[in-house]
Symmetry: C2
Subunit: 120 residues, 2 copies
DNA sequence: TACCGACCTCGAGCAGCTTTAGGTCAAGCC
DNA sequence: GGCTTGACCTAAAGCTGCTCGAGGTCGGTA
């Protein structure tokens, strides 16, 4: 699979994928005879998970820790699970915060509405 | 009002407030005889709104544009309203995205659960 | 009087990419 | 065959939005 396709499917950008590889977030991707990266399904899955973690606010350094666990094989699953649980909690907090901020925006919009007096 | 109090109430950090003033996101805050910033209620309101916009993903440059409109007085309210509407839409999209990512995390957790076989 | 805590400025540092410059290679067209 | 196009490559600099550290000024208090 070409890098452009992986980018589209994982939700990362091409640059971000290269950056992630360079900084050790994913194992070195195998190369074709022309030096181009050739991704397999496992690479795609991993990058998609990384994309989810990143988009939900995990830092690269936490992701690196998670990647290290991953390389440790199945016996690190309980640790990985608790890392994800912790992250899911912080995501829930963040989502609640966004909801509140959303409300504030709505109230502000309502005020503007009252001032200019058009239909919503 | 002291800067520490404004920080706590608005949700910004002390450094961020100073940074926002320096980069023209809020009008110059009045100073006491000792050179310290003295915030009034209007300053607090504005910074709280900025905080909401920022936390929901608006860029500083968009916030600057919004601040410029604000300085233009009441006749810019329709423009401000449409800016906020647009931003609220993009926030909703972002929230939906987060929900999907949240689901992905949950599925991954479920898999781990099945592998290690404990109670959820 | 000497220290503490809260503020100040300015400049450097940091995360997490993105952009740019300069290059390789295969495929498609004339 | 030669030329262009487009997708990829690397390394390095640039960007955003702060944060942190150094070094300094106050007012209050033991």
């Amino acid at each position: 699979m070409r890098i452009a396709e992986v980018a589209e499917r994982s939700g990362l950008t091409v640059s971000a994928i290269r950056y992630y590889e360079k900084s050790g977030l994913c194992p070195p991707i195998s190369r074709g005879p022309d030096g181009k990266r050739q991704f397999n399904a496992t690479d795609l899955d991993w990058l998609t998970l990384l994309s989810s973690l990143r988009e939900t606010g995990m830092t690269l350094s936490d992701m690196r820790a998670f990647a290290t666990l991953y390389r440790g094989g199945d016996e690190t699953i309980p640790e990985r699970k608790s890392a994800l649980l912790k992250h899911r909690d912080s995501l829930a907090i963040r989502q609640a915060q966004l909801d509140r901020r959303h409300d504030i925006l709505n109230r502000k919009l309502k005020k503007y509405q009252e001032i200019i007096g058009e239909s919503p």
